[in-house]
């Protein structure tokens, strides 16, 4: 009982802690200096219409590298916890005929859409993460539709490794070609023409690696979770 009172008090307390934040909150009329610099810089320095991508992939690229790592880590962690059991096939319920047929048509489309999203990340909303997730959703669809569908771990691993290392290597290329402070600088590739697919330096390349990696990781994650969940 005392515990519940305490919990209640604690929640009130947290709300009370948040209260001044809300009170002082106001929606500004202009962006702050840093944001303005980002918006301007993304267009001026990187020739990139999507300022968010500029921030995510270039200015704060290290964050994104970390982010990819976190995802990789989660996959590895989940995979480590839920080790794949052999002879799991047949336990899963088969999908309906509609799902099966639909998935056969939809999956390639989804994958292509995913690829579109991450290759155009520097131009339009989206990027490596959404793209990767979209691709993974195709695999999820296949997974649900076919009871015998399984991923080849070799391919997943290979994709993960190659795209991950590729990402890091692109970063290092910046270091090697442009100098000490240019890790993840995409400008060693030509900035290209405004609004084109092959523009903004190496950003599309980076986003492709991210997309592939995220896709592979998400698929791996799904696979790990489903393969273990069925066992009783």
């Amino acid at each position: 009982m005392i515990k519940y009172i305490l919990i209640f008090l604690v929640l009130i307390g947290m709300a009370w802690l948040f209260f001044p934040l809300v009170v002082e909150f106001f929606t500004p009329d202009i962006t702050n200096n840093l944001a303005a610099n980002y918006v301007f810089g993304s267009a001026a320095d990187l020739n990139m219409p999507n300022a968010v991508t500029a921030v995510v992939v270039t200015y704060r690229g290290l964050d994104t590298l970390g982010e990819v790592t976190v995802l990789f880590l989660a996959t590895a962690g989940v995979g480590f916890f839920l080790k794949r059991k052999k002879h799991m096939e047949g336990i899963r319920r088969p999908g309906s005929e509609i799902l099966k047929t639909g998935s056969e048509i939809l999956a390639p489309l989804i994958i292509i859409f995913g690829i579109y999203i991450f290759t155009h990340g520097h131009l339009t909303p989206g990027g490596g993460f959404p793209g990767g997730v979209v691709m993974a959703s195709a695999f999820l669809l296949l997974l649900m539709a076919n009871e015998n569908f399984g991923f080849s771990h070799g391919i997943i691993n290979l994709t993960e490794t190659i795209s991950g290392i590729g990402y890091v290597l692109i970063g290092i290329t910046g270091l090697v070609l442009l100098g000490l402070n240019h890790f993840l600088d995409p400008r060693w590739l030509g900035l290209g023409q405004w609004g084109r697919l092959f523009s903004a330096g190496a950003v599309p390349l980076i986003y492709s690696f991210i997309g592939l990696k995220v896709g592979a990781e998400m698929s791996g994650l799904l696979d790990s979770l489903q393969s273990d969940g069925g066992e009783q």
């Binding site: 604690v10 947290m14 301007f40 839920l82």
Partner: protein, 123 residues
């Protein structure tokens, strides 16, 4: 403002679930709710009155390159929180996934999903 309050409320609801629900899965859901709340707060913070998304397309300006940058500056919202929220989402996802994996393993070793059954170790 309302978005912000919604976010904070979600956070507190998440807290409540984490503190009171006994089922591990529900605790994880509580965590996820809290995470969502945080993401909403982040988004709310980046908002600038009457501005559009920080992507320089034809709706913002027809200009290109540096010129586009100059013109876009006072027409778009802050891109930083958007970037942050992207990262936050992924991290939240990762933690949630790991928590779920934990819950599954705990269920297998302890044969229970009740958090009260996992307190042998104390003092």
């Amino acid at each position: 403002m309302i978005i912000l309050i919604t976010g904070l409320l979600l956070i507190i609801i998440g807290f409540w679930a984490m503190l009171t629900r006994k089922n591990l899965i529900r605790i994880i859901i509580g965590f996820a709710v809290m995470d969502t709340g945080i993401n909403i707060v982040l988004v709310a913070i980046g908002y600038v009155k009457g501005k559009t998304a920080p992507i320089i397309d034809k709706a913002v300006t027809m200009a290109q390159g540096a010129e586009a940058g100059i013109q876009a500056v006072d027409k778009v919202v802050d891109p930083v929180p958007s970037a942050l929220v992207l990262t936050a989402i992924v991290i939240g996802l990762a933690v949630t996934a790991l928590m779920l994996a934990y819950a599954i393993r705990m269920y297998k070793t302890g044969n229970s999903l009740d958090i009260d059954d996992f307190e042998e170790q104390k003092w």
